[in-house]
């Protein structure tokens, strides 16, 4: 587009600027203070917020993976296995279940998870790998400890 006069070009900048501001206001509607309504002040904060949105999407998967592992660890410790060795045993017995799936199995299908623990224990024994038996989170042991403590108090 060619503008023959300066006035024409100056007039034409109006709508473009308007839409640019409207776009930013859509991102900054939930801010507090002048950065909510002022274009130039809010620009920095909107840029930063959008950048956090991009990086947060990456971090979410990382955090979920950590959470899955913790759930698997808690589930396998009930059956006397560390989570690390449990996964090692499964990998050696060619069971390629996800961490996501394993964590959901640990919560909602406890009997299948128990059988998976037994499989991994057997394979660890076959490969002569050491695994330390732990009983940290098991409810039965907690109950046992409570009972023993009560007895000791009585004596």
């Amino acid at each position: 587009m060619v503008f023959l006069t300066f006035i024409r070009s100056a007039l034409n900048q109006g709508p473009d600027k308007y839409w640019r501001i409207q776009q930013q206001l859509r991102f900054s509607w939930h801010f507090y203070g002048r950065k909510r309504n002022c274009y130039k002040i809010g620009m920095r904060y909107v840029f930063k917020a959008l950048r956090y949105g991009v990086s947060g999407r990456k971090d979410k998967l990382k955090n979920m993976r950590e959470l899955w592992y913790r759930r698997i660890n808690a589930g396998s410790e009930e059956h006397g296995l560390e989570g690390k060795m449990f996964l090692e045993g499964l990998a050696r017995s060619e069971i390629q279940l996800d961490r996501k799936i394993l964590s959901s199995l640990a919560i909602y299908e406890p009997r299948t998870f128990k059988s998976l623990c037994e499989v991994s224990k057997n394979t660890l024994k076959e490969h002569n790998l050491p695994f330390h038996e732990k009983h940290i989170n098991s409810r039965q042991n907690l109950l046992k400890d409570l009972i023993n403590n009560e007895k000791s108090v009585e004596i």
């Binding site: 950048r51 009997r111 499989v119």
Partner: protein, 161 residues
């Protein structure tokens, strides 16, 4: 080192030979036989109850039961809307009393999971934005990813072999 490598190769070979051996291996053979007969009885009589399966589709795994809807992200399937498809890679099938684990997948004849393609849509708008400070450089891209919805019609267990 050489011995170690040999051992690794041997274990791998053993693993490959063990592919498709589905039932969990208990300590003694008699126990194993008993379990196998019990599972076969349950399958033949149809008293296994409601089944769930873990299915592998395009690099991600889903735990499904009958009548479930699952959403596959980032791509459209080749099948059209309304078409019925069979999900071949079944990693695990479980019921109330037993669970069959594939190494890594079950045989084709053992189980059958069928699904229909309900919908092919786009996801929500994702904003990809980056800037370099003090350099007046910023780029904004808006992307919508494709997604397909599947409904699981049936999960069938036919036999152990």
């Amino acid at each position: 080192m050489f011995l170690k490598n040999c051992a690794n190769v041997a274990t791998r070979l053993m693993g490959i030979s063990r592919v498709h051996s589905s039932a969990i291996v208990p300590s003694s053979l008699q126990v194993r036989k008993n379990i196998q007969t019990e599972v076969e009885n349950q399958i033949s009589q149809g008293t296994a109850g409601r089944l769930f399966a873990v299915v592998h589709i395009k690099g991600s795994q889903y735990k499904v039961t009958e009548g479930d809807i699952i959403v596959l992200g980032k791509y459209h399937l080749e099948a059209d809307i309304g078409e019925k498809i069979r999900l071949n890679k079944i990693l695990l099938i479980g019921s109330s009393d037993f669970s069959l684990v594939g190494r890594p997948v079950l045989k084709e004849n053992m189980a059958k999971v069928e699904a229909t393609v309900i919908e092919k849509t786009l996801g929500h708008e994702k904003i990809f934005f980056n800037y370099i400070r003090r350099k007046s450089h910023n780029r904004m891209r808006i992307r919508q990813e494709a997604m397909t919805h599947l409904r699981i019609n049936s999960i069938e267990l036919n036999s152990l072999e």
